[in-house]
Symmetry: C2
Subunit: 204 residues, 2 copies
DNA sequence: GCGCTATCTTGACAGCGTCTAGATTTATCT
DNA sequence: AGATAAATCTAGACGCTGTCAAGATAGCGC
């Protein structure tokens, strides 16, 4: 931490930290910019100088979220076997990891219109996350999805199955269905892996 | 329309209609109870007598949404071949139809904490929608998901792929990937059907 | 017809995002 | 170094929000 001068010094990053804490505490639907300012120890008007408005702050936070999403995917891939399919499944498990650990941030990123999608940081980070998925599928199929429609279809399918699992999971809608049989954490992962494989392990 | 007495007569249903119109116009994230009241032509305090508060109104609206979701699925199934797999795919296409036609209502139902999930109407309607999916899978596998964990796994997989497609679609995230090759409406449906079949058409 | 209850209006309150004006600190330029 | 400019933060105001309380009005059962 740089010395806390009067002119706060690093208010922007402190606001981002405070914003995420507020997000975790109260959820995106009762997010309050004034509460963020209070948490950071500044007046309610201060954030405007670093982020134009509440949208600006949430846009920046979402962009950070996409970078952390990719990091979570990379982390899973490091512990997985190196064959392309195993890597793609691990990438998907990382996506689910991220959603489980940051459900409100995940919703901000994917189910909210608050973030300004044309923002450079946001678009760049979100685009990088998408390109990561494209790379995973390219490795599996040995075909470039950007030029091969069949490969891009596989991208869509893979994204949908992983995103669907993640979204239903954080909304608690898989609690009951997944409560059958073995309810251990590892078993759930096995189930998710098997489901992802159904989508990935196809030739057509 | 019943005669418009002073004591409005059917304010509850009018408020629901107005609420959905507001939802379509402004989206869930800037939903305003006062705006709903104004649209229905009553004072801002009136809704409280029919729905406890904003949550109550949105809970009732979401419950209606689940019934309409099932109706959209049924509609698709009527036009589809009668074999169980074709019926299940049609059911999924109906799910996507509903999301495309009612994106904000869909988000209220699946990506919002506003609806009170313990509400009887909500839980009943949402449960019926889930049981419809269970029935679709039961017909495909000839096994009861409620007693057969493997069948329930298929339920989870099917829900996830359909829900993932729907959610990514309404957030505009499939616009670019689906813009390759044939961009016609029917082709998109074909792609979605093929993707669903990848998940459904499995023995394990 | 009278009371009771449901329904609706009105006003108040605190909290919200944003705008503006002013104070204060830091940076820049000569 | 001293003055001027720029960046940063505070404080107050505005109209909006959801909810609560009090009072008015209409319909219903007796």
């Amino acid at each position: 931490m740089p010395p806390k001068t009067y002119h706060h010094g690093n208010l922007a990053s402190e606001l981002l930290k405070a914003a995420e804490e507020e997000l975790v505490m109260n959820g995106i639907e009762s997010f309050s910019l004034r509460a963020v300012a209070k948490r950071a120890g500044v007046s309610h008007g201060a954030p405007a100088h670093h982020f134009r408005d509440a949208r600006g702050l949430l846009t920046a936070l979402a962009a950070i979220g996409y970078r952390r999403l990719v990091a979570a995917q990379n982390s899973r891939q490091r512990d997985a076997k190196s064959d392309p399919t195993a890597q793609a499944v691990a990438s998907g498990l990382g996506y689910i990891d991220f959603a489980k650990r940051n459900p409100e941030l995940f919703r901000l990123m994917f189910s909210s219109e608050k973030p300004e999608r044309t923002d450079e940081q946001f678009a760049g980070a979100a685009g990088a996350a998408f390109e990561k998925l494209v790379g995973n599928i390219q490795d599996v199929l040995d075909a470039d999805p950007h030029t091969d429609p069949a490969a891009m279809k596989q991208v869509v399918a893979s994204w949908a199955i992983v995103h669907g699992l993640a979204d239903l999971l954080i909304s608690g809608r898989l609690n009951a269905p997944m409560a059958m049989g073995d309810t251990s954490e590892v078993h759930h992962e096995t189930v998710f892996s098997e489901i992802m494989l159904r989508v990935l392990d196809r030739e057509d």
